[in-house]
Symmetry: C2
Subunit: 255 residues, 2 copies
C-alpha cells in the first residue's frame, strides 16, 4: 500500500479548452491527483491516429496542488503516448478520456479520438475509461455525466480492469439519467454520409454528415437501446480484435 493519492491521466479529443474536459477535471479533483495532457485544439474523429511524419510538441499550461495541465500538438493517442513516455514520473492509476461533446456509442468507438486515447491507455495497462455525453453543444450540461463518471472512476480505481479491457461510458442528454446499464456495442453503420457542396472554383467538395442505421435485429443489451430509454450505457471493450470463432473455418486457406 502507498499513501499517495491516485494519479489520474485525463485527455480528450475536443481539445484542452473544451467545457467537457474542464468539467471532468472539476469533478475528479476529489478523487485523485490529476494530470491533464490533451490536444491543443479539436481532434474529433481521429480514432487511434498517430503522428508519424511530423514531430509533436507539448506545453505546460498550469500547475497547482493536485492538478497539472499540458497541451499537445498531436492526436489523442499521441497525447497518451507522449505523457506516458516522456512526461509522467509514475504510471497513472487510471486514465479518463472526455467528457466528449457527443456520443461514442455503437460503432463510434471505431472513429472516436476520445476512445482512441482510451484504447491507448489500455495498451499501456492503465485502467482506462471513456466518458461521452450525447450532446454536441459547446455549453452542454455535464452534471449527470460527471456524477456517473466519478462513480465509475472510483470503482475502477478500487477494482482495476482485466489486461486488454477498457470501458466506454455514454450518457444520454436528459435532465436525470434513469441509471447505468452494462451493454454490448450496437451493430450498425452510417448512411447518407456526405453533403455535397462547391469550392470557390465550382469544384465539388464533400462534407461528412450522415445518420446512424442499426443493423437488424436489435439485441436487448444494445447500448443505443439503453441510451434511447434514458439510461447511461457502459460497454466493456477489448484490444484483441481476433475473431476466434472464424479461425477454424479459415484453416482451409492455409498453405
Amino acid at each position: 500500500m502507498t499513501n499517495e493519492r491516485p494519479l489520474i491521466l485525463i485527455t480528450n479529443d475536443d481539445g484542452v479548452s473544451a467545457k467537457g474536459i474542464n468539467e471532468l477535471v472539476a469533478c475528479l479533483r476529489e478523487v485523485g491527483d490529476l494530470v491533464v495532457f490533451a490536444p491543443d485544439g479539436p481532434r474529433s474523429g481521429m480514432s487511434s491516429a498517430i503522428t508519424s511524419l511530423l514531430p509533436i510538441q507539448y506545453s505546460l499550461l498550469r500547475e497547482e496542488k493536485g492538478l497539472t495541465v499540458y497541451s499537445c500538438t498531436g492526436t489523442p493517442v499521441d497525447c497518451v503516448k507522449l505523457a506516458m513516455n516522456e512526461v509522467l514520473d509514475r504510471k497513472p492509476d487510471l486514465l479518463v478520456s472526455g467528457i466528449n461533446h457527443g456520443g461514442n456509442m455503437a460503432i463510434c468507438v471505431n472513429y472516436s479520438g476520445t476512445m482512441g486515447a482510451v484504447i491507448e491507455g489500455c495498451i499501456f495497462d492503465v485502467p482506462s475509461i471513456g466518458v461521452s455525453l450525447l450532446d454536441h453543444a459547446p455549453d452542454a450540461d455535464f452534471s449527470e455525466c460527471c456524477r456517473l463518471g466519478r462513480m465509475l472512476a472510483r470503482r475502477v480505481l478500487r477494482d482495476g480492469l482485466p489486461h486488454g479491457t477498457y470501458l466506454n461510458l455514454n450518457v444520454p442528454k436528459v435532465a436525470q439519467v434513469k441509471g447505468m446499464r452494462v451493454c454490448r456495442q450496437t451493430d450498425g453503420r452510417w448512411i447518407k454520409e456526405f453533403k455535397r457542396s462547391e469550392n470557390a472554383s465550382g469544384k465539388p467538395v464533400f462534407w461528412l454528415t450522415g445518420s446512424f442505421e442499426s443493423a437488424q435485429p436489435i439485441h436487448p443489451d444494445n447500448d443505443m437501446l439503453a441510451l434511447d430509454s434514458g439510461y447511461a450505457s457502459l460497454v466493456p471493450c477489448k484490444i484483441d480484435v481476433t475473431d476466434y470463432s472464424y479461425m477454424e473455418r479459415l484453416k482451409d486457406y492455409e498453405c
Copy 2:
C-alpha cells in the same frame, strides 16, 4: 448469377502513387474490374480517422477497360466512405487495402490506415482484406505478397466473409514465403516511443519511433511468431469489440 466480372475496390494508406498499391492493381486485374480510390499522399498511422471539420475532394486520374483510378484528399476511411456513397455505381464484391509498405501485425491493426480502410469496408458489408508486407522500402519486392494476396482475394470472392469479420494478411520480408498460417493478434505494445529533438528555437520536439514488445507468454498461434518463422499470417478480425466475458462481472456497477 450475374455475368459481370467481380468489382474490386482498392485503397491504401501510402497514397495512390505508392509501389505497393500499383503492384496490387497489376496482380488483381485478372481477378476483376478494379476501382482504385486512394489518398493523394501518405496517410500512414491514420487508423480509422475521418475528416469532419473540413470538406474532402476527389479527382479521376485514369480510366481504361477494367480499371478506374481516383485520388482523394481524405484519410483511408474517407476514401472508402466517399467511394461507397458518391462514386461507385454498385456495391463492390471485395475491398482490398494495400499492399502496405510495412507490417500491420499484432496491435498495428489499431493504428494502421490500411486496416482502417478494411474495417470501413467491413462496416459496409463488403468482404474486406488488408495486405501488408514487412518491408518499408519504397521499392520493396511485392511478388510473394501479390501471389498470396491474389489467392486470398479469389477465395474470399468465392466464399464471402461473415458479417462483421475482416481479414488481415501480413507477409514477411523473405525471398520465398513458407506458407500462410491462420493466427491470432499478438498481444503487446511499443516501448521507447519517442526520439527527442529540437526545433529552430531550441524547443524540444518529439518524433514517433519505438520498438515492439510482446506481452508474455507468446501463444503458438501469434501472428508475429508465424512471421518470424517465414510464414505469412492471416488474422480474422471483428468489428464488434465488446468484451462479452466481462459484461457479467460489470453487472455490479449497474445502478
